[in-house]
């Protein structure tokens, strides 16, 4: 009986961490799908979301919802600026060059954040108090419900955007064939800017809603970014349920691994799953079977 209760708690904890990974992974997938760039700076937008909200809310004393809106706007502006200044001028560069650029961007953003806000860790107040909610003997925080809810809203919005709006369809077209898209009159450069804007905004949202739970500091982006990355790859770089499932799988297996096997190797679990997936199903668990051969 006790074991079942434990397993339930592991699963629930895992799901709530997994939802965080999923949210971050979605940002990766959006940029990858419209530009084929793996944006190593994605984790920094998560950090920016949390730190900026903290800055507006705690330091400037603004009302929380206002602080949130401002934080998303500011992080999005940084994302757009980054694309304009560093990515857009290099449209035809080799992928490896772009990888280095995004790594450079990530170092730069992290550095500026450190100079602006110092090296301390900060906690954002919980959105709806900190009395745990008990579900069948397992406890989660109200903030987790926020995370689940926002993830759900974002997936739905993504789905609507990419499949039912003109710009969304255009962005998907860019990912399939850039030259053809250009020929049919899609402004590819603008679509790339768009994808950076959307994913930095999403990263910021993720950073904001997790900050009360995970706390935030100038360097939280690195590990969260990598885990989000794993989620996206496992999910086949999809901008929808695939990545979410990937995130949840990583979260739950980590939590189960820490509880049942060894907490020391917990972090390795995400990467072992990543390797296994890459080796046996590089298109991801839910990707369509179009593994590149030639």
């Amino acid at each position: 009986m006790e074991l079942i209760e434990q397993l339930l708690q592991y699963t629930l904890s895992g799901l709530s961490t997994g939802a965080i990974y999923a949210l971050i992974g979605l940002g990766f997938a959006i940029i990858y799908n419209s530009t084929s760039i793996i944006n190593f700076a994605q984790g920094e937008f998560v950090m920016l979301g949390g730190m900026l909200t903290l800055f507006f809310h705690v330091t400037l004393g603004l009302y929380l919802p206002l602080a949130v809106v401002l934080a998303i706007a500011a992080a999005t502006a940084v994302g757009a600026l980054f694309e304009r200044l560093a990515i857009s001028p290099l449209k035809d560069a080799e992928p490896i060059i772009l990888v280095i650029i995004t790594i450079g961007g990530s170092i730069l953003i992290r550095g500026v954040a450190m100079l602006l806000w110092g090296k301390d860790t900060h906690a954002l107040p919980m959105f709806s108090g900190d009395d745990p909610i008990i579900l069948l003997g397992a406890a989660i925080m109200p903030q987790n419900i926020w995370i689940f809810g926002v993830t759900l809203i974002i997936i739905t919005a993504n789905r609507l955007f990419f499949h039912h709006s003109v710009s969304g369809k255009a962005m998907r077209a860019c990912s399939f064939n850039r030259i053809a898209s250009r020929l049919v009159g899609i402004d590819v450069k603008r679509m790339i800017l768009f994808s950076f804007i959307i994913s930095s905004a999403m990263g910021a949202v993720a950073g904001i809603i997790i900050a009360p739970l995970t706390m935030t500091s100038y360097d939280v982006g690195v590990m969260l970014g990598l885990k989000g990355f794993c989620a996206a790859i496992i999910g086949g770089m999809s901008t929808g349920m695939g990545t979410v499932a990937g995130g949840l799988i990583v979260g739950v297996l980590e939590s189960l691994g820490a509880g049942l096997i060894s907490s020391g190797y917990k972090d390795a679990i995400a990467f072992i799953i990543l390797l296994v997936i890459l080796l046996i199903r590089p298109q991801g668990l839910f990707g369509k079977g179009e593994a590149e051969r030639v």
Binding site: E2, L3, Q6, Q9, Y10, S13, G14, S16, T17, I20, M114, K119, D120, T121, H122, A123, D130, P132, A139, I140, M141, I210, L213, T214, M215, S217, D219, V220, V222, M223, L224, E254, S255, L256, A258, G259, L260, S262, S263, G264, K266, D267
Partner: protein, 381 residues
């Protein structure tokens, strides 16, 4: 073609030569500082550097040491052993310092030890690892309290409360690993059984899995060993799960910051700590009180934040050096010998007594037990 190659090579090597320019001046006594001001251990390096700067300024304003000014040359090691070795070599060979304060972490200190031992320059480390001074190295001292002392404090308290089986939850970095080693090492002699041995990563977002596993064990108390922000998450997760076991932490979180991060979840948590955080409530008769209040007030005036015991390690190091220089001629060898002769030095970390057999110099009295009450640190009687 050949010409081009030669020109290129000359460019490169003249670039390298730029770095060799030495500045020679005998006047001030130069002290080196190796602090991890950026990188993961910056929570250690920053207060250490700030404190060292502040103390050196103060000493110079009040006339220096025997008429000679102190000069602090400091490099950021970023918590990286390789960079620490390079910086230590630079301090010794280029800046020609007479003694070195730091590095901030045990790993970096271990990496730097061969360098200072070969060069014969005294080093006062601000890191806690017991390996630094056990076995004793001729030129190496340290001011941070050994982890073992903190462990003993906790185990004493557990025994007093008649709690014998504990769960330990340590962070997977140098600080946590060293704590874990000591916790396991001292358990048997103290009559404590470790019934669960769990680990969390420095960047983990959620520790409920480990805590649930601990809840399923027969532990009567939990000892969590880490530095901010991990233990704050542990405290919050424990509260979330409604865990009623007494929760102990290490001196790694004895700062206001921990209470700020953990919020209500910090209430009732007990930990061994240097006296810094309870300086105000110490009895007047406490021999350290004067040093402590001086440090706390100066730091607050200078940097507008509370001084913590990490800064205290640098305070102790600078003041130990000062007194060793006053007693000798200020050469590296004399500093080393005089450091070893330090007796009854009332510092921030405790009362230091260095001997040829002991380069750590503290006893477990260096720690007091404190607990959180109404979001304030209180002494445990």
């Amino acid at each position: 073609m050949l010409k081009k190659i030669i020109i290129k090579s000359i460019c490169i090597f003249s670039l390298l030569l730029v770095f060799t320019v030495n500045s020679w001046s005998q006047e001030p006594i130069k002290i080196g500082g190796l602090f991890a001001v950026t990188g993961p251990p910056s929570f250690l390096g920053e207060p250490e550097r700030n404190t060292a700067n502040m103390m050196v300024d103060q000493i110079n304003k009040t006339g220096g040491i025997k008429g000679r000014k102190l000069k602090l040359v400091f490099y950021d090691t970023q918590g990286d052993a390789t960079k620490a070795v390079q910086a230590a070599t630079r301090l010794i060979k280029e800046d020609r310092v007479s003694a070195i304060i730091g590095p901030s972490t045990t790993g970096e200190t271990m990496a730097v030890i061969p360098v200072v031992e070969n060069a014969g320059i005294p080093l006062i480390s601000c890191a806690a690892g017991i390996k630094i001074t056990e076995p004793v190295k001729k030129w190496v001292f340290k001011t941070a309290q050994n982890d073992s002392l903190a462990v003993e404090r906790i185990y004493d308290h557990l025994r007093k409360r008649n709690l014998h089986s504990v769960a330990i939850l340590t962070v997977s970095d140098g600080f946590g690993a060293s704590g874990r080693e000591q916790l396991k090492l001292r358990a048997r002699d103290s009559g404590i059984t470790i019934v669960a041995d769990e680990i969390y990563g420095p960047n983990d977002t959620d520790m409920t899995a480990q805590l649930v596993k601990i809840r399923g064990s027969k532990a009567q108390a939990i000892i969590c060993w880490g530095t901010n922000p991990g233990p704050a998450k542990v405290a919050r997760n424990a509260k979330q799960l409604g865990l009623s076991l007494p929760l102990y932490m290490s001196h790694g979180v004895s700062s206001k910051k921990f209470i700020e991060l953990a919020g209500d979840a910090a209430e009732g948590i007990t930990l061994p700590s240097g006296r810094v955080i309870v300086a105000n409530v110490l009895a007047k008769s406490d021999p350290q009180k004067k040093s402590l209040l001086a440090f706390v007030n100066d730091y607050k005036n200078h940097y507008r934040v509370e001084g913590d015991h990490f800064g205290g390690h640098a305070w102790d190091a600078v003041m130990l050096l000062k007194s060793a220089i006053e007693r000798g001629d200020g050469s590296p060898a004399s500093i080393r010998n005089e450091l070893e002769n330090t007796r009854n030095f009332k510092g921030i970390g405790g009362i230091f007594n260095f001997t040829p057999q002991d380069h750590a110099g503290l006893t477990k009295d260096a720690f007091v037990l404190v607990t959180v009450k109404n979001r304030e640190w209180m002494l445990v009687k």
